[in-house]
Amino acid sequence: MTATRFVGKSIWIIVMSVLAFLMLYPFLFSLLAGLNTKAEFSNMGAVLLPLPQTPVFSNFTFMFTPSGIRPFINTVLRTGWYTVLVSLIAVLFGYVMARYEFKGKKFVLGMIIATQLIPAVLTLIPGFVMVARLPFLGGNNWMGVGGKGLINNPVILYLRLDFTYLLWVFLFMQSTRSLPRAFEESAEIEGCGFWQTIFRIIIPLQKPIIAVIAVNVALATWNDWLIPFMYINKVQYSTLPAYIGTLTAALQSFGDKDYPKLFAMSTVAILPPALIFMFLQKYIIQGIASAGVKG
Protein backbone atom coordinates (compact mmCIF):
# COMPACT_ATOMS: atom_id res chain seq x y z
CA MET A 1 0.00 0.00 0.00
CA THR A 2 1.47 3.31 -1.06
CA ALA A 3 1.70 6.25 1.32
CA THR A 4 -1.02 8.31 -0.41
CA ARG A 5 -3.42 5.40 -0.40
CA PHE A 6 -2.74 4.81 3.27
CA VAL A 7 -3.44 8.47 4.07
CA GLY A 8 -6.59 8.37 1.95
CA LYS A 9 -7.80 5.26 3.69
CA SER A 10 -7.10 6.71 7.13
CA ILE A 11 -9.05 9.88 6.31
CA TRP A 12 -11.89 7.72 5.04
CA ILE A 13 -11.95 5.73 8.27
CA ILE A 14 -11.88 8.87 10.44
CA VAL A 15 -14.61 10.65 8.48
CA MET A 16 -16.84 7.58 8.35
CA SER A 17 -16.35 6.88 12.05
CA VAL A 18 -17.37 10.43 12.93
CA LEU A 19 -20.41 10.04 10.68
CA ALA A 20 -21.29 6.71 12.29
CA PHE A 21 -20.97 8.27 15.74
CA LEU A 22 -23.28 11.15 14.76
CA MET A 23 -25.84 8.74 13.36
CA LEU A 24 -25.80 6.60 16.52
CA TYR A 25 -25.44 9.51 18.96
CA PRO A 26 -29.18 9.97 19.71
CA PHE A 27 -29.46 6.28 20.58
CA LEU A 28 -26.44 6.39 22.91
CA PHE A 29 -27.79 9.58 24.44
CA SER A 30 -31.15 8.01 25.00
CA LEU A 31 -29.72 4.86 26.59
CA LEU A 32 -27.42 6.78 28.95
CA ALA A 33 -29.99 9.44 29.83
CA GLY A 34 -32.36 6.67 30.87
CA LEU A 35 -29.83 5.52 33.46
CA ASN A 36 -29.85 8.90 35.23
CA THR A 37 -32.06 10.08 38.00
CA LYS A 38 -34.17 13.11 37.17
CA ALA A 39 -32.10 15.37 39.42
CA GLU A 40 -28.79 14.16 38.05
CA PHE A 41 -29.92 14.59 34.46
CA SER A 42 -31.10 18.16 34.93
CA ASN A 43 -27.88 19.14 36.70
CA MET A 44 -25.74 17.56 34.00
CA GLY A 45 -22.89 19.86 32.95
CA ALA A 46 -21.60 20.43 29.47
CA VAL A 47 -21.01 16.85 28.43
CA LEU A 48 -21.37 15.06 25.11
CA LEU A 49 -22.97 12.00 26.66
CA PRO A 50 -24.99 12.08 29.89
CA LEU A 51 -22.97 9.50 31.80
CA PRO A 52 -24.48 8.93 35.25
CA GLN A 53 -22.30 8.81 38.38
CA THR A 54 -24.04 5.65 39.46
CA PRO A 55 -26.46 4.18 36.95
CA VAL A 56 -30.01 3.72 38.22
CA PHE A 57 -32.27 1.18 36.54
CA SER A 58 -35.56 2.28 38.06
CA ASN A 59 -36.60 4.04 34.83
CA PHE A 60 -36.17 0.81 32.92
CA THR A 61 -37.67 -1.47 35.51
CA PHE A 62 -40.69 0.83 35.79
CA MET A 63 -41.59 -0.12 32.24
CA PHE A 64 -42.04 -3.70 33.30
CA THR A 65 -44.18 -3.08 36.34
CA PRO A 66 -47.94 -3.71 36.00
CA SER A 67 -48.65 0.03 35.68
CA GLY A 68 -46.00 0.68 33.06
CA ILE A 69 -46.08 -2.37 30.82
CA ARG A 70 -49.41 -1.92 29.05
CA PRO A 71 -48.19 0.20 26.10
CA PHE A 72 -45.39 -2.29 25.53
CA ILE A 73 -47.78 -5.26 25.51
CA ASN A 74 -50.16 -3.42 23.18
CA THR A 75 -47.34 -2.72 20.74
CA VAL A 76 -46.23 -6.36 20.77
CA LEU A 77 -49.78 -7.64 20.19
CA ARG A 78 -50.50 -5.15 17.44
CA THR A 79 -47.22 -5.86 15.67
CA GLY A 80 -47.76 -9.61 15.89
CA TRP A 81 -51.32 -9.37 14.62
CA TYR A 82 -50.51 -7.23 11.57
CA THR A 83 -47.39 -9.21 10.72
CA VAL A 84 -49.28 -12.51 10.60
CA LEU A 85 -52.42 -11.09 8.99
CA VAL A 86 -50.67 -9.13 6.25
CA SER A 87 -48.24 -11.93 5.45
CA LEU A 88 -51.16 -14.37 5.13
CA ILE A 89 -53.13 -11.97 2.94
CA ALA A 90 -50.09 -11.34 0.78
CA VAL A 91 -49.50 -15.08 0.32
CA LEU A 92 -53.12 -16.01 -0.52
CA PHE A 93 -54.00 -12.95 -2.58
CA GLY A 94 -50.61 -12.85 -4.30
CA TYR A 95 -50.67 -16.56 -5.13
CA VAL A 96 -54.13 -16.36 -6.67
CA MET A 97 -53.13 -13.31 -8.68
CA ALA A 98 -50.00 -15.03 -9.92
CA ARG A 99 -51.43 -18.41 -10.87
CA TYR A 100 -55.18 -18.29 -11.46
CA GLU A 101 -57.02 -16.91 -14.45
CA PHE A 102 -60.33 -15.19 -13.80
CA LYS A 103 -62.45 -12.39 -15.09
CA GLY A 104 -61.52 -9.05 -13.61
CA LYS A 105 -57.90 -9.97 -12.89
CA LYS A 106 -56.62 -7.04 -14.95
CA PHE A 107 -58.94 -4.74 -13.01
CA VAL A 108 -57.68 -6.03 -9.66
CA LEU A 109 -54.08 -5.60 -10.79
CA GLY A 110 -54.83 -2.07 -11.94
CA MET A 111 -56.46 -1.41 -8.60
CA ILE A 112 -53.43 -2.66 -6.70
CA ILE A 113 -51.15 -0.28 -8.58
CA ALA A 114 -53.57 2.67 -8.57
CA THR A 115 -54.20 2.46 -4.82
CA GLN A 116 -50.48 2.75 -4.14
CA LEU A 117 -50.63 6.24 -5.58
CA ILE A 118 -53.23 7.50 -3.09
CA PRO A 119 -51.38 9.91 -0.83
CA ALA A 120 -51.92 9.43 2.90
CA VAL A 121 -53.14 13.01 3.28
CA LEU A 122 -56.34 12.22 1.38
CA THR A 123 -57.54 9.66 3.91
CA LEU A 124 -55.98 10.88 7.17
CA ILE A 125 -58.74 13.21 8.41
CA PRO A 126 -61.73 11.58 6.61
CA GLY A 127 -60.66 8.23 8.08
CA PHE A 128 -60.84 9.79 11.52
CA VAL A 129 -64.31 11.20 10.80
CA MET A 130 -65.46 7.80 9.54
CA VAL A 131 -64.24 5.96 12.64
CA ALA A 132 -65.90 8.54 14.89
CA ARG A 133 -69.20 8.26 12.99
CA LEU A 134 -69.51 4.48 12.61
CA PRO A 135 -73.18 3.63 13.21
CA PHE A 136 -74.25 1.55 16.24
CA LEU A 137 -70.79 1.70 17.82
CA GLY A 138 -69.58 3.60 20.85
CA GLY A 139 -72.95 5.16 21.58
CA ASN A 140 -73.71 6.17 18.01
CA ASN A 141 -77.22 5.71 16.64
CA TRP A 142 -77.93 4.35 13.15
CA MET A 143 -77.08 7.75 11.66
CA GLY A 144 -73.71 7.65 13.37
CA VAL A 145 -74.58 10.50 15.71
CA GLY A 146 -74.50 10.71 19.48
CA GLY A 147 -71.36 8.88 20.54
CA LYS A 148 -67.70 8.63 19.69
CA GLY A 149 -67.68 5.60 17.43
CA LEU A 150 -64.48 3.63 17.80
CA ILE A 151 -62.40 6.61 18.89
CA ASN A 152 -60.51 5.69 22.03
CA ASN A 153 -61.51 2.06 21.61
CA PRO A 154 -58.48 -0.27 21.51
CA VAL A 155 -60.16 -2.42 18.85
CA ILE A 156 -59.45 0.23 16.24
CA LEU A 157 -55.73 -0.56 16.46
CA TYR A 158 -56.43 -4.03 15.08
CA LEU A 159 -59.25 -3.45 12.61
CA ARG A 160 -57.84 -0.99 10.11
CA LEU A 161 -56.63 -2.53 6.87
CA ASP A 162 -56.03 0.05 4.20
CA PHE A 163 -54.79 -0.15 0.64
CA THR A 164 -51.14 0.37 1.51
CA TYR A 165 -50.90 -3.32 2.40
CA LEU A 166 -51.67 -4.26 -1.21
CA LEU A 167 -48.05 -3.44 -1.92
CA TRP A 168 -47.06 -6.70 -0.25
CA VAL A 169 -49.63 -8.59 -2.30
CA PHE A 170 -48.00 -7.14 -5.39
CA LEU A 171 -44.56 -8.15 -4.18
CA PHE A 172 -45.62 -11.74 -3.45
CA MET A 173 -47.39 -11.98 -6.80
CA GLN A 174 -44.27 -10.87 -8.67
CA SER A 175 -42.08 -13.33 -6.84
CA THR A 176 -44.50 -16.24 -7.32
CA ARG A 177 -44.67 -15.55 -11.05
CA SER A 178 -40.97 -16.24 -11.33
CA LEU A 179 -41.36 -19.57 -9.52
CA PRO A 180 -41.51 -22.65 -11.77
CA ARG A 181 -44.94 -24.29 -11.81
CA ALA A 182 -43.47 -27.80 -11.70
CA PHE A 183 -43.61 -28.06 -7.90
CA GLU A 184 -47.27 -27.21 -7.70
CA GLU A 185 -48.15 -29.44 -10.66
CA SER A 186 -46.51 -32.48 -9.14
CA ALA A 187 -48.15 -31.68 -5.81
CA GLU A 188 -51.49 -31.58 -7.56
CA ILE A 189 -50.86 -34.94 -9.18
CA GLU A 190 -50.03 -36.30 -5.74
CA GLY A 191 -53.44 -35.08 -4.63
CA CYS A 192 -52.67 -31.84 -2.83
CA GLY A 193 -55.62 -29.50 -2.52
CA PHE A 194 -55.41 -25.74 -2.56
CA TRP A 195 -54.59 -25.23 1.12
CA GLN A 196 -52.08 -28.04 1.18
CA THR A 197 -50.37 -26.56 -1.85
CA ILE A 198 -50.18 -23.19 -0.12
CA PHE A 199 -48.90 -24.47 3.21
CA ARG A 200 -46.74 -27.38 2.07
CA ILE A 201 -45.34 -26.07 -1.22
CA ILE A 202 -45.69 -22.32 -1.66
CA ILE A 203 -44.88 -21.05 1.83
CA PRO A 204 -41.75 -23.20 2.26
CA LEU A 205 -40.53 -22.26 -1.23
CA GLN A 206 -41.25 -18.57 -0.78
CA LYS A 207 -39.72 -18.16 2.67
CA PRO A 208 -37.32 -15.37 1.62
CA ILE A 209 -39.99 -13.11 0.17
CA ILE A 210 -42.34 -13.83 3.07
CA ALA A 211 -39.51 -12.80 5.37
CA VAL A 212 -39.15 -9.53 3.48
CA ILE A 213 -42.88 -8.90 3.87
CA ALA A 214 -43.08 -9.95 7.52
CA VAL A 215 -40.01 -7.99 8.60
CA ASN A 216 -41.11 -4.81 6.85
CA VAL A 217 -44.68 -5.03 8.11
CA ALA A 218 -43.45 -5.73 11.63
CA LEU A 219 -41.13 -2.72 11.57
CA ALA A 220 -43.77 -0.43 10.10
CA THR A 221 -46.40 -1.52 12.62
CA TRP A 222 -44.07 -1.26 15.58
CA ASN A 223 -43.07 2.23 14.51
CA ASP A 224 -46.56 3.37 13.54
CA TRP A 225 -47.12 5.99 16.18
CA LEU A 226 -49.60 8.08 14.18
CA ILE A 227 -52.68 5.83 14.23
CA PRO A 228 -52.67 5.15 18.00
CA PHE A 229 -51.67 8.79 18.56
CA MET A 230 -54.75 9.98 16.67
CA TYR A 231 -57.32 7.44 17.74
CA ILE A 232 -56.37 6.59 21.32
CA ASN A 233 -55.78 8.91 24.24
CA LYS A 234 -55.58 6.47 27.13
CA VAL A 235 -52.16 5.19 28.11
CA GLN A 236 -53.49 1.70 28.82
CA TYR A 237 -54.78 1.34 25.26
CA SER A 238 -51.94 3.12 23.51
CA THR A 239 -48.76 1.75 21.99
CA LEU A 240 -45.25 2.59 23.09
CA PRO A 241 -44.19 4.85 20.18
CA ALA A 242 -47.53 6.68 20.31
CA TYR A 243 -47.30 7.21 24.05
CA ILE A 244 -43.73 8.46 23.66
CA GLY A 245 -45.10 10.73 20.93
CA THR A 246 -47.54 12.36 23.36
CA LEU A 247 -44.70 12.83 25.84
CA THR A 248 -42.43 14.28 23.14
CA ALA A 249 -45.16 16.65 22.00
CA ALA A 250 -45.63 17.76 25.62
CA LEU A 251 -41.92 18.59 25.94
CA GLN A 252 -42.55 21.86 24.12
CA SER A 253 -44.94 23.11 26.77
CA PHE A 254 -44.04 24.27 30.25
CA GLY A 255 -44.26 21.96 33.20
CA ASP A 256 -42.54 19.05 34.78
CA LYS A 257 -40.47 17.00 32.34
CA ASP A 258 -39.15 13.61 33.34
CA TYR A 259 -36.47 13.23 30.67
CA PRO A 260 -34.76 10.10 32.06
CA LYS A 261 -38.04 8.19 32.17
CA LEU A 262 -38.88 9.29 28.63
CA PHE A 263 -35.48 8.18 27.37
CA ALA A 264 -35.63 4.85 29.16
CA MET A 265 -38.94 4.27 27.43
CA SER A 266 -37.50 5.37 24.09
CA THR A 267 -34.60 2.98 24.47
CA VAL A 268 -36.93 0.07 25.15
CA ALA A 269 -39.11 1.10 22.19
CA ILE A 270 -36.11 1.20 19.85
CA LEU A 271 -34.72 -2.13 20.99
CA PRO A 272 -37.03 -4.54 19.12
CA PRO A 273 -36.65 -2.79 15.73
CA ALA A 274 -32.91 -2.61 16.34
CA LEU A 275 -32.77 -6.35 17.04
CA ILE A 276 -34.86 -7.11 13.96
CA PHE A 277 -32.53 -4.91 11.97
CA MET A 278 -29.38 -6.53 13.32
CA PHE A 279 -30.43 -10.05 12.53
CA LEU A 280 -32.65 -9.60 9.49
CA GLN A 281 -30.88 -6.73 7.79
CA LYS A 282 -30.87 -8.19 4.31
CA TYR A 283 -34.65 -8.52 4.25
CA ILE A 284 -35.08 -4.87 5.18
CA ILE A 285 -32.61 -3.69 2.56
CA GLN A 286 -34.45 -5.80 -0.02
CA GLY A 287 -37.69 -4.17 1.02
CA ILE A 288 -36.47 -0.58 0.57
CA ALA A 289 -36.92 -0.53 -3.16
CA SER A 290 -40.38 -2.07 -3.05
CA ALA A 291 -41.55 0.04 -0.12
CA GLY A 292 -40.72 3.12 -2.15
CA VAL A 293 -43.58 2.29 -4.50
CA LYS A 294 -45.94 3.54 -1.80
CA GLY A 295 -47.44 6.92 -2.71
Partner: protein, 305 residues
Protein backbone atom coordinates in the same frame (compact mmCIF):
# COMPACT_ATOMS: atom_id res chain seq x y z
CA UNK B 1 -68.80 -41.61 -13.69
CA UNK B 2 -69.49 -45.32 -13.34
CA UNK B 3 -65.86 -46.06 -12.66
CA UNK B 4 -65.86 -43.59 -9.82
CA UNK B 5 -68.98 -45.11 -8.23
CA UNK B 6 -67.40 -48.51 -8.41
CA UNK B 7 -64.32 -47.22 -6.66
CA UNK B 8 -66.53 -45.92 -3.86
CA UNK B 9 -66.05 -42.24 -4.66
CA UNK B 10 -69.20 -40.21 -4.46
CA UNK B 11 -70.03 -39.00 -7.94
CA UNK B 12 -69.90 -35.25 -7.98
CA UNK B 13 -70.32 -32.56 -10.53
CA UNK B 14 -66.84 -31.74 -11.73
CA UNK B 15 -66.51 -28.19 -12.90
CA UNK B 16 -64.05 -27.22 -15.57
CA UNK B 17 -60.69 -26.26 -14.14
CA UNK B 18 -61.02 -22.62 -15.20
CA UNK B 19 -64.33 -22.23 -13.38
CA UNK B 20 -62.97 -23.86 -10.25
CA UNK B 21 -59.96 -21.56 -10.26
CA UNK B 22 -62.07 -18.49 -10.83
CA UNK B 23 -64.37 -19.39 -7.94
CA UNK B 24 -61.42 -20.01 -5.65
CA UNK B 25 -59.90 -16.70 -6.68
CA UNK B 26 -63.08 -14.76 -6.03
CA UNK B 27 -63.54 -16.44 -2.67
CA UNK B 28 -60.14 -15.19 -1.58
CA UNK B 29 -59.90 -11.83 -3.28
CA UNK B 30 -63.38 -10.39 -2.88
CA UNK B 31 -63.63 -10.48 0.94
CA UNK B 32 -60.16 -8.96 1.32
CA UNK B 33 -60.80 -6.21 -1.21
CA UNK B 34 -64.23 -5.38 0.17
CA UNK B 35 -62.79 -5.08 3.66
CA UNK B 36 -59.92 -2.94 2.43
CA UNK B 37 -62.32 -0.72 0.50
CA UNK B 38 -64.20 -0.12 3.72
CA UNK B 39 -61.07 1.37 5.30
CA UNK B 40 -59.64 2.89 2.14
CA UNK B 41 -62.36 3.88 -0.27
CA UNK B 42 -64.98 5.31 2.10
CA UNK B 43 -62.53 7.81 3.64
CA UNK B 44 -61.42 8.77 0.14
CA UNK B 45 -64.96 9.55 -1.01
CA UNK B 46 -65.80 11.12 2.35
CA UNK B 47 -62.74 13.34 2.05
CA UNK B 48 -63.81 14.72 -1.31
CA UNK B 49 -67.20 15.61 0.15
CA UNK B 50 -65.80 17.03 3.39
CA UNK B 51 -64.37 20.04 1.58
CA UNK B 52 -67.84 21.27 0.65
CA UNK B 53 -69.35 21.27 4.13
CA UNK B 54 -68.96 22.95 7.46
CA UNK B 55 -68.70 20.18 10.01
CA UNK B 56 -67.25 19.85 13.47
CA UNK B 57 -67.07 16.07 13.16
CA UNK B 58 -69.08 15.67 16.35
CA UNK B 59 -72.78 15.91 17.00
CA UNK B 60 -74.09 18.61 14.66
CA UNK B 61 -74.95 17.57 11.12
CA UNK B 62 -72.63 18.74 8.33
CA UNK B 63 -73.83 21.95 6.70
CA UNK B 64 -73.35 22.36 2.95
CA UNK B 65 -71.39 25.53 2.20
CA UNK B 66 -70.43 24.98 -1.43
CA UNK B 67 -66.99 26.18 -2.40
CA UNK B 68 -66.51 28.36 0.69
CA UNK B 69 -63.68 26.28 2.14
CA UNK B 70 -61.83 26.24 -1.17
CA UNK B 71 -62.31 29.98 -1.63
CA UNK B 72 -61.01 30.53 1.90
CA UNK B 73 -58.00 28.40 1.12
CA UNK B 74 -57.02 30.60 -1.81
CA UNK B 75 -58.06 34.00 -0.51
CA UNK B 76 -57.11 34.18 3.15
CA UNK B 77 -53.43 33.85 2.28
CA UNK B 78 -52.82 31.84 5.43
CA UNK B 79 -53.17 28.48 3.76
CA UNK B 80 -51.24 29.49 0.66
CA UNK B 81 -48.36 30.56 2.91
CA UNK B 82 -48.47 27.16 4.60
CA UNK B 83 -48.55 25.36 1.25
CA UNK B 84 -45.60 27.40 0.03
CA UNK B 85 -43.70 26.68 3.26
CA UNK B 86 -44.46 22.98 2.97
CA UNK B 87 -42.97 23.12 -0.52
CA UNK B 88 -39.79 25.05 0.27
CA UNK B 89 -39.12 23.40 3.61
CA UNK B 90 -39.66 20.01 2.04
CA UNK B 91 -37.54 20.86 -0.96
CA UNK B 92 -34.75 22.12 1.30
CA UNK B 93 -34.77 18.93 3.38
CA UNK B 94 -34.98 16.72 0.33
CA UNK B 95 -32.22 18.37 -1.68
CA UNK B 96 -29.87 18.35 1.30
CA UNK B 97 -30.64 14.69 1.79
CA UNK B 98 -30.11 13.82 -1.88
CA UNK B 99 -26.70 15.52 -2.01
CA UNK B 100 -25.47 14.18 1.32
CA UNK B 101 -26.78 10.66 0.79
CA UNK B 102 -25.03 10.59 -2.59
CA UNK B 103 -21.74 11.53 -0.94
CA UNK B 104 -22.28 8.86 1.72
CA UNK B 105 -23.26 6.34 -0.95
CA UNK B 106 -20.03 7.10 -2.81
CA UNK B 107 -18.01 6.76 0.41
CA UNK B 108 -19.61 3.42 1.14
CA UNK B 109 -18.63 2.20 -2.31
CA UNK B 110 -15.09 1.59 -1.06
CA UNK B 111 -13.80 -1.90 -0.51
CA UNK B 112 -13.16 -2.35 3.18
CA UNK B 113 -13.81 -4.86 5.91
CA UNK B 114 -15.55 -2.36 8.19
CA UNK B 115 -17.82 -0.99 5.48
CA UNK B 116 -20.74 -3.08 6.75
CA UNK B 117 -20.46 -1.45 10.16
CA UNK B 118 -20.69 2.03 8.65
CA UNK B 119 -23.58 1.03 6.42
CA UNK B 120 -25.49 -0.30 9.43
CA UNK B 121 -24.93 2.78 11.54
CA UNK B 122 -26.00 5.08 8.72
CA UNK B 123 -29.17 3.05 8.26
CA UNK B 124 -30.22 2.61 11.89
CA UNK B 125 -31.89 6.06 12.38
CA UNK B 126 -34.54 5.20 9.81
CA UNK B 127 -35.73 2.12 11.69
CA UNK B 128 -36.75 4.07 14.80
CA UNK B 129 -40.07 5.90 14.97
CA UNK B 130 -39.99 9.69 14.47
CA UNK B 131 -41.90 10.18 17.71
CA UNK B 132 -39.05 8.56 19.62
CA UNK B 133 -35.94 10.01 18.04
CA UNK B 134 -37.22 13.59 17.96
CA UNK B 135 -37.32 13.45 21.78
CA UNK B 136 -33.52 13.46 21.84
CA UNK B 137 -33.38 16.50 19.55
CA UNK B 138 -35.93 18.34 21.67
CA UNK B 139 -34.02 17.51 24.86
CA UNK B 140 -30.74 18.75 23.39
CA UNK B 141 -32.38 21.94 22.13
CA UNK B 142 -34.04 22.85 25.44
CA UNK B 143 -32.98 26.49 25.92
CA UNK B 144 -32.29 26.12 29.66
CA UNK B 145 -31.39 22.54 30.44
CA UNK B 146 -30.48 21.39 26.91
CA UNK B 147 -27.07 19.89 26.35
CA UNK B 148 -26.34 21.99 23.28
CA UNK B 149 -26.57 25.32 25.07
CA UNK B 150 -24.49 23.99 27.96
CA UNK B 151 -21.79 23.04 25.49
CA UNK B 152 -21.97 26.45 23.82
CA UNK B 153 -21.56 28.09 27.21
CA UNK B 154 -18.67 25.82 28.06
CA UNK B 155 -16.72 27.00 25.01
CA UNK B 156 -17.54 30.61 25.85
CA UNK B 157 -20.35 31.28 23.40
CA UNK B 158 -23.72 32.79 24.15
CA UNK B 159 -26.56 30.29 24.49
CA UNK B 160 -29.18 30.36 21.76
CA UNK B 161 -32.90 30.16 22.38
CA UNK B 162 -33.44 27.86 19.43
CA UNK B 163 -37.24 27.88 19.61
CA UNK B 164 -37.41 31.65 19.12
CA UNK B 165 -35.67 31.65 15.79
CA UNK B 166 -37.19 30.55 12.51
CA UNK B 167 -33.75 30.00 11.04
CA UNK B 168 -32.64 27.63 13.78
CA UNK B 169 -35.91 25.69 13.83
CA UNK B 170 -35.75 25.17 10.07
CA UNK B 171 -32.11 24.22 10.48
CA UNK B 172 -32.87 21.57 13.10
CA UNK B 173 -35.85 20.23 11.18
CA UNK B 174 -33.58 19.79 8.17
CA UNK B 175 -30.87 18.19 10.32
CA UNK B 176 -33.36 15.72 11.74
CA UNK B 177 -34.82 14.94 8.32
CA UNK B 178 -31.39 14.27 6.83
CA UNK B 179 -30.26 12.29 9.88
CA UNK B 180 -33.28 10.04 9.54
CA UNK B 181 -33.55 9.68 5.75
CA UNK B 182 -29.87 9.52 4.87
CA UNK B 183 -29.50 5.76 5.27
CA UNK B 184 -32.12 4.39 2.87
CA UNK B 185 -31.22 6.96 0.21
CA UNK B 186 -27.51 6.18 0.57
CA UNK B 187 -28.19 2.45 0.25
CA UNK B 188 -30.21 3.07 -2.92
CA UNK B 189 -27.45 5.27 -4.38
CA UNK B 190 -24.97 2.56 -3.47
CA UNK B 191 -27.09 -0.04 -5.25
CA UNK B 192 -27.19 2.19 -8.30
CA UNK B 193 -23.44 2.72 -8.28
CA UNK B 194 -22.76 -0.99 -7.94
CA UNK B 195 -25.11 -1.87 -10.78
CA UNK B 196 -22.99 0.08 -13.29
CA UNK B 197 -20.96 -2.40 -15.30
CA UNK B 198 -17.26 -1.98 -14.39
CA UNK B 199 -16.39 -2.93 -17.97
CA UNK B 200 -17.69 0.47 -19.05
CA UNK B 201 -15.05 2.22 -16.93
CA UNK B 202 -12.34 -0.10 -18.26
CA UNK B 203 -13.42 0.66 -21.82
CA UNK B 204 -13.32 4.37 -21.00
CA UNK B 205 -9.80 3.99 -19.61
CA UNK B 206 -8.72 2.28 -22.83
CA UNK B 207 -10.21 5.15 -24.82
CA UNK B 208 -8.31 7.63 -22.65
CA UNK B 209 -11.27 9.25 -20.90
CA UNK B 210 -10.48 11.44 -17.89
CA UNK B 211 -12.28 11.35 -14.53
CA UNK B 212 -14.81 14.08 -15.39
CA UNK B 213 -15.68 12.41 -18.68
CA UNK B 214 -16.20 9.08 -16.94
CA UNK B 215 -18.54 10.66 -14.44
CA UNK B 216 -20.32 12.63 -17.17
CA UNK B 217 -20.81 9.79 -19.63
CA UNK B 218 -20.96 6.65 -17.48
CA UNK B 219 -21.86 7.39 -13.86
CA UNK B 220 -24.53 10.04 -14.41
CA UNK B 221 -26.48 8.18 -17.12
CA UNK B 222 -26.17 4.97 -15.10
CA UNK B 223 -27.73 6.63 -12.07
CA UNK B 224 -30.57 8.42 -13.83
CA UNK B 225 -33.14 5.81 -12.83
CA UNK B 226 -32.05 5.69 -9.20
CA UNK B 227 -31.95 9.49 -9.00
CA UNK B 228 -35.49 9.78 -10.31
CA UNK B 229 -36.64 7.20 -7.81
CA UNK B 230 -35.09 8.98 -4.83
CA UNK B 231 -36.26 12.40 -5.98
CA UNK B 232 -39.88 11.54 -6.73
CA UNK B 233 -40.54 9.30 -3.73
CA UNK B 234 -38.81 11.97 -1.65
CA UNK B 235 -41.09 14.72 -2.98
CA UNK B 236 -44.18 12.65 -2.26
CA UNK B 237 -42.85 12.16 1.27
CA UNK B 238 -41.90 15.75 2.10
CA UNK B 239 -45.11 17.21 0.68
CA UNK B 240 -46.92 15.25 3.40
CA UNK B 241 -44.33 15.69 6.13
CA UNK B 242 -45.62 17.04 9.40
CA UNK B 243 -44.39 14.72 12.14
CA UNK B 244 -40.90 16.23 12.22
CA UNK B 245 -42.33 19.75 12.34
CA UNK B 246 -44.87 18.82 14.98
CA UNK B 247 -42.37 17.24 17.34
CA UNK B 248 -39.35 19.50 16.86
CA UNK B 249 -40.79 22.99 16.45
CA UNK B 250 -44.59 22.69 16.88
CA UNK B 251 -44.71 25.25 14.08
CA UNK B 252 -43.01 27.78 16.35
CA UNK B 253 -41.84 30.52 16.58
CA UNK B 254 -45.24 32.14 16.01
CA UNK B 255 -46.22 29.63 13.32
CA UNK B 256 -43.17 30.54 11.26
CA UNK B 257 -42.25 26.91 10.69
CA UNK B 258 -45.83 25.70 10.40
CA UNK B 259 -46.60 23.67 7.27
CA UNK B 260 -49.84 22.84 5.50
CA UNK B 261 -49.88 19.17 6.46
CA UNK B 262 -49.52 20.04 10.15
CA UNK B 263 -52.33 22.58 9.77
CA UNK B 264 -54.54 19.92 8.19
CA UNK B 265 -53.81 17.64 11.11
CA UNK B 266 -54.70 20.34 13.64
CA UNK B 267 -57.77 21.50 11.72
CA UNK B 268 -59.05 17.93 11.72
CA UNK B 269 -57.99 16.30 14.97
CA UNK B 270 -57.45 19.23 17.32
CA UNK B 271 -59.84 21.98 16.22
CA UNK B 272 -62.52 19.80 14.58
CA UNK B 273 -62.77 22.12 11.58
CA UNK B 274 -63.40 19.16 9.28
CA UNK B 275 -64.53 21.18 6.27
CA UNK B 276 -61.34 23.18 6.04
CA UNK B 277 -59.23 20.07 6.73
CA UNK B 278 -61.07 18.27 3.92
CA UNK B 279 -60.57 21.09 1.42
CA UNK B 280 -56.85 21.48 2.20
CA UNK B 281 -56.37 17.69 2.14
CA UNK B 282 -57.90 17.52 -1.31
CA UNK B 283 -55.66 20.30 -2.64
CA UNK B 284 -52.49 18.88 -1.11
CA UNK B 285 -53.57 15.40 -2.18
CA UNK B 286 -54.01 16.45 -5.80
CA UNK B 287 -50.57 18.06 -5.83
CA UNK B 288 -49.07 14.87 -4.42
CA UNK B 289 -50.97 12.67 -6.87
CA UNK B 290 -49.51 14.70 -9.75
CA UNK B 291 -46.02 13.91 -8.49
CA UNK B 292 -47.02 10.28 -8.01
CA UNK B 293 -48.28 10.07 -11.59
CA UNK B 294 -45.03 11.52 -12.90
CA UNK B 295 -43.29 8.88 -10.82
CA UNK B 296 -45.50 6.11 -12.23
CA UNK B 297 -44.89 7.27 -15.80
CA UNK B 298 -41.18 7.47 -15.14
CA UNK B 299 -41.05 4.02 -13.59
CA UNK B 300 -43.53 1.67 -15.11
CA UNK B 301 -43.93 2.96 -18.63
CA UNK B 302 -40.42 4.12 -19.43
CA UNK B 303 -38.78 0.72 -19.37
CA UNK B 304 -38.95 0.18 -23.13
CA UNK B 305 -36.36 2.83 -23.99
Amino acid sequence: MNNLSVMGVKPQKTLPRATREARRAYKIIIPILVYMCFWGLIPLVLGLGLGFVEFNGLSAAPKFVGLKNYIDFFTTGEYLTLLWRQAWLGFLCLSLNIVLSFIVGLSLNVKSRIRGLYRTSVYVPSIAAVSITTAVFVALLDPYSGGLNKMLEAVGMAPVVWNYSQFWMVFWIAVFYVWRSLGPAAIIWLGGLQSIDPALYEAADVDGANFVQKVRYITVPGLKFVAGYIFLTGIIGVMQMFDVVMFISKGNPYGMTDVLMYRIYRDGIVNFNMGMAGASSTILGIITVIFALIYLKFFFFKKED
